[in-house]
Symmetry: C2
Amino acid sequence: MRVTIKEVAAAAEVSAATVSKVLSGRGAYAVHALTAERVRRVAAELGYVPDMAAKHLRTRRTGQLGVVLEAVGASEPESLLGAEAAQHAAALRRTFDGAIMAGLSGAARERRVPALVVYPGGDMPARHYLDGRVDGLIVSCDPLRGHALLQALSSAPLPLVALWTGQAPAGVCAVDVDHQSGAAQATQHLLGLGHTRIAFYGGGTHGGVEHFRRREAGYRQAMRAAGLRPYAAVHGGAELVGAVRRFQFSAVFAETDLGAAAAYQALSAAGYRVPDDLSLIGFDDVQGAEYIAGGLSTVYHPAAEMAAAGIGLLLERCAGRPVPPRTQIAPRLILRRTTRRWSGP
Amino acid sequence: MRVTIKEVAAAAEVSAATVSKVLSGRGAYAVHALTAERVRRVAAELGYVPDMAAKHLRTRRTGQLGVVLEAVGASEPESLLGAEAAQHAAALRRTFDGAIMAGLSGAARERRVPALVVYPGGDMPARHYLDGRVDGLIVSCDPLRGHALLQALSSAPLPLVALWTGQAPAGVCAVDVDHQSGAAQATQHLLGLGHTRIAFYGGGTHGGVEHFRRREAGYRQAMRAAGLRPYAAVHGGAELVGAVRRFQFSAVFAETDLGAAAAYQALSAAGYRVPDDLSLIGFDDVQGAEYIAGGLSTVYHPAAEMAAAGIGLLLERCAGRPVPPRTQIAPRLILRRTTRRWSGP
DNA sequence: CTGTTAGCGCATTCAT
DNA sequence: ATGAATGCGCTAACAG
């Protein structure tokens, strides 16, 4: 059987309350230094480990955070996305969920809060997060879906932080990557290289998704800021090749790295060289980006940083402190070998 | 305040004990059908949610599983791997952690067990998993490290399942991908295509790592089974090009997809065409593999399936049932466009 | 500074 | 078939 606080108390010849004060009180209670020292020593000798279940019951706090990963383990993506896009999206989401977990890991470990990963199953309503298991919830929304899950969860009287979204329900703290700024940075880099005829490659299946809309908005914003008229998004390899011919594009900004890889394949097949004939830049810095098109320049997608920020915010909220309702994490440019100064036609 | 079992009891005009029997007893107690029905209805009306902390304290079981991700959030990889390899490894691990989480997700959600993700921090010894938070532990070992963590954890009197390893300490259930079989499949595929001069590309920084050793073993096994003498592993782009010249290789099996991407770059730069001059096959099916070398044929790495199997095994152990000490998950070949029948020199 | 008392919400005897 | 009593291990008041 496990050793309890009582046994420690007996061995240290103090009361259980004193042991509790020493071992768990945040210094709020005054205990004689020698007594405290003795208690600690005895506890260590006995291998005492406080029982969390009992502590939780008493304090009504678990110190655990719930992580709701909408993306990972999503069950019916096909119906929303179409089969081929679904496979694509699944791989991407896994990657980002990995980054999310990494970000949570760093932040949560630093602060010593375990994260309880709960999965939004069909029949697992919001109430199930209210069973006293967690002190707060961090929700990694699937940008490819709506906000239904978030909506459902937001009715819960728990501190809530939403990841991957800029527009959370009232009372929910939203954290997102600043897609627009990232896209603007990419476009500005191309502009700074002397390109003016810059294509935006994207807008296909993802059409209505917030993130991709904002990437396109970043492109348009940067173009306009440079006094240029943005081009309409082009999607599909054949269409891109056609558009390059028609508009004499000297650069392509693809809304994702995988899009950039597809663009590169189409362009190469059509005889264009990157970066000699065309500069190419992506978004995400996915694993392997270094091998796309001989080393894809891209925008690093700070998913892990976003997750870490989310944990920080959630803990603030759990502590009852106010937090900003919206936070944006800025991506940054990663320059490799697919962009080059424009040297004329 | 939350509604407790007592309030439900009062509203349903029964005792708290009866409510407990109805709502949580596994049918072991006899309760009149009508009473039970009334209790359930009242509970639903009141929005009663059982308090987990209290339940855990009473039953000494949490229904939660601990997930220890050694890879994600690993803190000092550089010292073990060297800087450039570390970056490489970090990206890879994030991907696989994503897959792990996806696998856990599917399995755990299905069985309605939340997973508590805990991070192996420097000062978080095995005892910390013994505080009654979890019923069992699933440990995703970092193949690039040793078994130190697993060793430390295995002293805990908790059901333990180790992922990513074939050689767990006694009493620990080990689950791994069958790297050797995967590598043998890849090599056999090449052999079936008529290739006999097949290079194994790998063995660099990863030299001593179990997984990569087993991939090489798979290659050697398949070669020998075909009556051929395996070649020594070659590592590095320049070395590969030299070896291709010297040994007249017609095919290359790379121990990882990223290795295949690097091999492809070196080979292309040296004027070799894939698959016209050389067939190429990788291992992992990483995200973007479809864009490597125009569509890399590779071995799918069933990380998610492994994780799912691990959860299943852990739950069996938690239930006290016996489980096989070792489980191997078979990878499968994914054929894309980098392998071709050998048509002579 | 320390000990005593009193639950937290629930599941489980044992009566009835 | 149901209810009263008991305690899981711990912490928070309060009294000394």
